[in-house]
Each structure stands twice: as C-alpha cells, then as structure tokens.
Amino acid sequence: MLKVFIYPVNSLILADLVERFGHKPLVVMNQVREKVTNISLDSPPVNITPEDPKIGLRFAAVEVPAGVRGRMSLIGPLIEEAEAAIIVENPPVNFGCVGCNRTNELMKYLVRSKEIPILEVKYPESNFEAREFVYNISVFLENLSKASGEKKLDPQSGNAEEFKGEAAEEKKGKVKLEKKNDSLREEIP
C-alpha cells in the first residue's frame, strides 16, 4: 500500500478510487481533522499553533501571501509523505479551501519536482471520458501495487521496472526537494 497524493486535495472521486484500488489517499481533510478535533486548539480562525507558520515557511517564502503559506502548512507535509501522485487537470470548481491558484501551482510544482510516479489526467466531462479516466487511474494504481515490492518505480509511467534516476535513494530525493524549495522561495516574489 502506497501513499498517493491527489490533486484536487479534497476530491471525492480520486480519494475513493485510490482507496478502492488498495492504496492510501493523502487528503487535506485528515490534516483539517487534526486541527479541528484537537481539544487543545480553539475553533477557526484561532486554531493555528506557532508551529504552523514554520511549516508553511518550508514551502513558501515569507513574502508570499499568508494564505499560500497557511495552505502549504497543511498540504506541504502531505507532499513530503507522498510516494505517488495523481493530478487532475481542469477540475470543475476551484474556490474555497482549494481556491488559491498560486497554492495549487506551487503544490503541483513541488509534486512534479519530486521523483515519484505521477499520473496526470483530465477531469472527465462525458461518459467516454469517465471510462478513460477510471481506466487510466486503475492501471496506474495496479502498476503501483505490483511495483510496491520493488526498490523504485519509473516516475513517468509508474511501471514496475527498476528506475535508475538521480533519486535512486529516498534520502537523496528529500535533499533535492529541500534544495528546490529553497530555490522556489527565491523565485516567488
């Protein structure tokens, strides 16, 4: 069972499909649960601990709007934990908690820069597209299941072939991600 990051981070369809095919979806609702059910924290908007801005700063610079950093303090740890990812392009609505386009772009950038298998699909709008969507996701997740015993996966296709890339070891991958985060902080105005 691998931890699969999904975008949109609160998607019902993706969370269900990932769970259905035997993996663990990394969803923002679990992060929110920690914030709103912990009795030591008050109700929103005062449920932020001094640790949260620090977590946000690991992914976005101090000049970046507080909303981006706040969102990244919840979503960033999920990206760090992710062992695979499914990104859906053009989801139907993007507002509310997932409505910040800058956060979404940063999130996708961080996922793509991490050396993990990623599936990018378009949000279905017809029956045929839905069939294609479900089939692609099922194949991707089944390949992940087959390969979960292997040392490394091919980040392009999620196939079970042994991946010989720069991030052959997980530690190296993490160091690389941290470096990219540093460079990203400089890039974002």
Partner: protein, 162 residues
C-alpha cells in the same frame, strides 16, 4: 457468571480510559439506483456500531471510533460497491462550526465541490462496472495513428454542412 462479566466490563473500561480511540468522520455518497441513503442508514442502525450517523441529501456522514467507522463504511460500500463512494471529512457530523442549523442556512463550506463531483458519479460508477465486466474500454485498445486524409475531408465536410 456475574463475576466474570463484571471483570470484563472493568477491563473494557480500563482500556477505554487508557487509550481513547481516534474518532474519524467519513462522507458516504450514494449514487445508486438500488440503495437509498435511508437504506444505508437503516443498515448502520441494525449493525449496532457505536457511530453517529447523519443522513443528508447526497448520502450519509458517519462519525465514530476509527475501526468502527471503517468497518461500517466497508459494509455500506458492499451494498452497491461501484456506485457508493466514500471520502474523509475533517469536521465531525453536526459540528457547530459547519452545521447549517447554527450558521443560519446556506450551503456548508465544502459542499460546492462535492456537488460538482456528484454530477459525475453516475458516469464513474458505470465506468467501474464496465471495467469490472469487460476490462479496458474498446476505444482505448485501438492504437494511436495519424489522421487519414479521407477522414479529415469528412470532418471538414460535416463542419461546413452545419
């Protein structure tokens, strides 16, 4: 034996005191022709799991200890497995910070995206049925090839004829 049951109760109480299990909440969205939210709710009441159930327009919200909720959702999913969808929820059922009864009406935050996704659920359910029945869709089996000139001409003609 009364003594045995008493010690059993005591042990259970101690266990509860020692470590309270984490409470989780799941949203069960029902897009089935066979199962209604009320059927699923009745199934949970019959099962006597110590969970809180809230029936909504799209399905159910179930809150309770993690193991119980996971077991309940799995049982409900088996009623019509390709047409019942489950996702996590951060806030417990009926939480005052989200419940419409306290906030003065209007859709609760997070409902809009769910509503958009619910529109696609029948197609996703059908796709799952088909995948289970037949395997990959027929159209996907065809290999990609360049567009033929005759095919392009036909498309242009149909477009111009509009």
């Amino acid at each position: 034996m009364p003594g045995k049951s008493h010690s059993g109760q005591k042990l259970a109480g101690e266990k509860k005191f020692m470590k309270a299990e984490k409470e989780i909440t799941k949203i069960i969205v029902i897009s089935s022709e066979k199962v209604l939210p009320v059927d699923a709710a009745m199934k949970i009441y019959e099962s006597e799991f110590p969970v809180t159930v809230k029936e909504t327009c799209f399905g159910l919200i179930v809150t309770g200890p993690e193991t119980d909720v996971l077991q309940v959702t799995e049982e409900i999913r088996q009623l019509d497995k390709n047409h019942i969808f489950v996702k996590d929820r951060g806030f417990p059922a009926g939480d005052e910070r989200r419940c419409r009864a306290v906030r003065g009406g209007g859709p609760r935050p997070g409902f809009h995206f769910l509503r958009e996704e619910v529109k696609m659920l029948p197609a996703i359910g059908e796709a799952l049925d088909e995948l289970e029945r037949k395997g990959p869709p027929e159209e996907l089996k065809k290999q990609k090839s360049r567009l033929k000139v005759s095919e392009l001409e036909r498309i242009i003609e149909t477009e111009l004829a509009r």
